[in-house]
Symmetry: D2
Subunit: 337 residues, 4 copies
């Protein structure tokens, strides 16, 4: 159960509500976000909701019996819209395209990429400065200095930045230089990281775990939301299956299912989902047609020379063609609905 409280509720009124729902057999948890103030009633109980409805300080009440509550569309029907500023908006009928290299490598690469994005009307640039690598001997990214260099150039060009944060201690240094924090697939259930990102007032995009379920992804979002941050984006990036003809198995089913279960925007990552350059476009188009609010993909001026993930990275020519097609597909889909 979610009880939305009036922002200016008096402490004594809140205490009365807490006492009431406790007496009904619920455990409860107070959630204050940048956008609202909630009491979450945990448990499943039968009672007449009118017993609560008239109480002082309550704005609204919703029954939600899923494990995830605040991210559920059963409560909040209106889709969440995230405004990055300068007219860059995620969700709410916009197609958000986020493109860039796997790893930020150097100034030249950043300049070329920004230029390419601008030519194609892409407003959000992706790139890693902290890279989770399965081998301790692999390239781990340029770190905070790389991020500062990138930020300076992107800001000048009006391009927003999304970049992966791998641990709690990186949040503060990264904060001034990113527009969206990305939680990677290996950290989807790093609950300490999620808790801390709940205290930040910048958007967070959570990637589905390598073999995470849809429900686990929603529960991870619930962590961040219940810790205070409502500006959340979910990202389907393929799951691990027995099939080895592709890097991962794109779970295209997850797109309409997530869009139905939650009010949060849903983005697809075709680069990781299939992992083979020549098929990235097909999966991106399919994702848009399945209802995705955005596409995040890898592009590089010379994919064969990229520090990482070159085999799934588009060159700028392929990237340009794909962006054009994605926009047409999105237009068709929306004209039809």
């Amino acid at each position: 159960m979610i009880i939305q409280l009036q922002p200016a509720i008096q402490e004594q009124d809140k205490q009365k509500i807490v006492a009431k729902i406790t007496s009904l057999g619920y455990k409860n948890m107070e959630v204050k976000t940048q956008r609202g103030f909630y009491l979450i009633g945990i448990g499943k109980k039968e009672f007449d909701i009118r017993q609560l409805g008239h109480m002082q300080g309550i704005a609204d009440i919703h029954r939600v019996s899923d494990e995830y509550k605040l991210v559920s569309s059963k409560w909040k029907v209106e889709p969440t819209v995230i405004d990055l500023g300068d007219g860059v908006i995620i969700g709410g009928g916009n197609l958000s395209i986020m493109a860039g290299p796997c790893s930020i490598e150097n100034e030249h690469q950043v300049d070329l990429t920004i230029n390419h994005l601008k030519e194609n009307g892409v407003r959000i640039m992706r790139g890693g400065v902290y890279k989770p690598r399965s081998s301790p001997y692999a390239f781990r990214g340029l770190g905070i200095d790389g991020l500062k260099m990138w930020h300076e150039r992107a800001k000048a060009a009006g391009i927003k930045i999304i970049s992966e944060v791998m641990q709690v201690s990186q949040i503060e240094p990264m904060y001034p230089y990113v527009d969206v924090f990305q939680v990677g697939a290996r950290n989807t259930q790093n609950y300490n990281l999620l808790d801390e990102l709940g205290k930040v007032d910048k958007p967070v995009m959570i990637k589905r775990g390598i073999s995470g379920t849809i429900e686990e992804l929603l529960s991870s979002a619930e962590y961040v939301f219940s810790a205070g941050n409502e500006k959340l984006i979910l990202c389907e990036r393929g799951i691990r299956t027995y099939e080895k003809a592709s890097r991962n198995t794109m779970d295209i089913n997850a797109i309409p299912i997530l869009k139905s279960k939650t009010h949060l925007p849903v983005v697809a990552d075709p680069s990781h989902a299939i992992g083979i350059r020549e098929y990235v476009e097909s999966i991106a188009l399919a994702s848009v047609m399945a209802g995705a609010d955005g596409i995040i993909y890898e592009t590089h001026q010379k994919p064969e020379e990229a520090y990482s993930d070159g085999q799934q990275t588009l060159d700028f020519h392929e990237s340009t063609r794909m962006v054009r097609k994605l926009k047409k597909a999105f237009e068709l889909l929306n004209s039809e609905n």
Copy 2:
């Protein structure tokens, strides 16, 4: 290695070629289909292909080192086109829509469905008369009498029939009444059935196994082709994974991968791939956008009363809307290429 022989090759010339490739270290197998005559050289050897090229009776030679050879696009670049007659064509730039109930139930249902298909310009009707059921106590279909009843009505309406064959002994009785034999997901590796379907001169659509790999699907097609039948269609219908939010996990990656690896038409089955009625349209649209040559799906006048699979079956209203959208998406995709 595939050696295409001239149709009118002399026996002694063929013997010389066999002797030659044996001396090169290949095992070989002769394949005569309704469309061509081939020698398959099995093994991987290094030699100068010009040693063979000049020999009498050879039309063409192709090196193919995959386990599957005759279904590979490395050999036959031109897409396979399958003509069902009366202007109904699968592959070759057409979008083939196949719709109908999970099970054929009775005359009334068949009449209503045919009527619905005609109104929407759908030319191929699906339906099961032999149903593979995990429980021995469940409805197993109307059998051959149901097929005859259905055939009579479909033929009168100019509608083609695709229906599942479960065992060798059903091939002959079904033969006069189906336009396409369907091999179900539980029979993808029933090699005896595949062998026998290779001797038939009607098209065969092979569904991917419940947890079959893309390579296994191609190898199953190779069985039918090498036994004599080139008129093959492949069908992606979702795979079994750990995710339980949907019935199966649609492997959308398989669409572009199969389209690249084989010359055979590729069809998607969104009904089984997601298994939830309200999301079937999204998956069908995604499949078309990923490059599928066709969509096979379940529709019923009253899904909630269907004998089987009602939870994933569209009603006629939903079906009509989806067909309209699929056509527009297919048009957009092709206008772009």
Copy 3:
């Protein structure tokens, strides 16, 4: 619901029972096996079981609400014991070891293998004469002549034969020469084959499907049982997962779960379950310790020269050592219980 009928029940008494359970809202199916006569009531209904208990001709009544009923231990608590004759017994506190090559190759191989089995007190020999192969160009087995040759030698040595049947038409020719029919992992849901094996009076061992669930394996056994054959053995042989360090993933959990859910004997196949020769012994030992009634594994006089599966096949030295250890482990386990 399972109603065990008295073997000599009068037709009119049976009709009364059928009428009664129909009136209670059950569908029903009559099952006559070589060992018993049953009415299966399909559906879930609430009623006082005493309404039935007093009726003429009823031996016993059991409520079983699983999809599988006759193979359930909820009905038949006593473990099924299968007597192959000559003192060779499967189930009931015996450890059944079945060993032999993947494929029967020639007389010499058969003689060496029989000799090896006799030296180690192994009474059942495995071997394929019909081989399901994913490529149509691979060796498909010696066929019925190979089986006859093998049978002649095995019979003379007092060794029993288990061999895979791939299709309905092979049942009759194989019948005189096998002691146990094996249904392979690709045919676990070949329902026509299961139905026909239900009419045979020789034991059937059903392997779990390549990615079959435990429940599906039990349902496949229900097919054979409900078609008339109670002499069934289940075999865990590993499942398909994302892990590629082994050929399959041995589902050791399935052993105690199956032993608890069904009265049928449960055998493990460590050769296919791990697929790597040097580790087969560890998995076989683990399986015995988890409660398996038997082990079926591959052995060959020269594994590196075997026609198929050589990489997972033990040589006779390894086989001898393993059999000795398996017996000790089985003994320990039983002394403890």
Copy 4:
């Protein structure tokens, strides 16, 4: 390539070696652990190893081309043995049993458990004070105060403690109170945490990821080792598959495979691997028989009242019986080898 340096190597000698391997085309990384000093040569190159062998300051050289090097048995054939003090030793022919509740709950529970362990000769107690929970509204553990309370009692009883660390900031406060740090399945690829645990001089047990591969588990161990900590234990705890009859699928294959690929001790967690109380014993016995160096499992004085994981937790009676059987099985296995 691993170059073991002499502990007292002179800086200038080390520089010469670095220069030499750089000139051969290797990247290199210096690794100093509490036990040794290594240069890791990264890359695959062909050269005559004698070019290096004679150089001053080198103790030994090993070619290892896997992604993981320092944890590989190709380099270090001798099994790693970990001494927790007071005669509690993991690896090296000992069977290490670690038992206790899922969550530490209160003093009474701790006292009862310690008593139970002592009666059965179990020297290591498991228990969580920081609990990773998929829902933000669930019990998250007693935290550091719970750990201190537990430690005081355990120390007095001569019982060692293993407990999960979830994030970098917990390492320091936990350090005085644990004997083994446990990395949970959701943190197997939390590389920052692994890096930091590499700087600690207490043993670390790494659980396999929820859908981690065997190779990824070894790579995670390589992280900790290459950051300085050689005292590592690996733990198989079941993987995520499509099968839902058990909580996870115990990958019993992983036991002999890991024992062969690495010199580190390998422990099995049957409680999580099957997740059903009545079958935990069977999986524990199977794991010992497959070669595990230890078993970690959940026990509680009243499983049905446990704060978490009650459905897979043994009561003390079951626990006592299992420990007795495990010891006998371990004895049998070793007497045989």
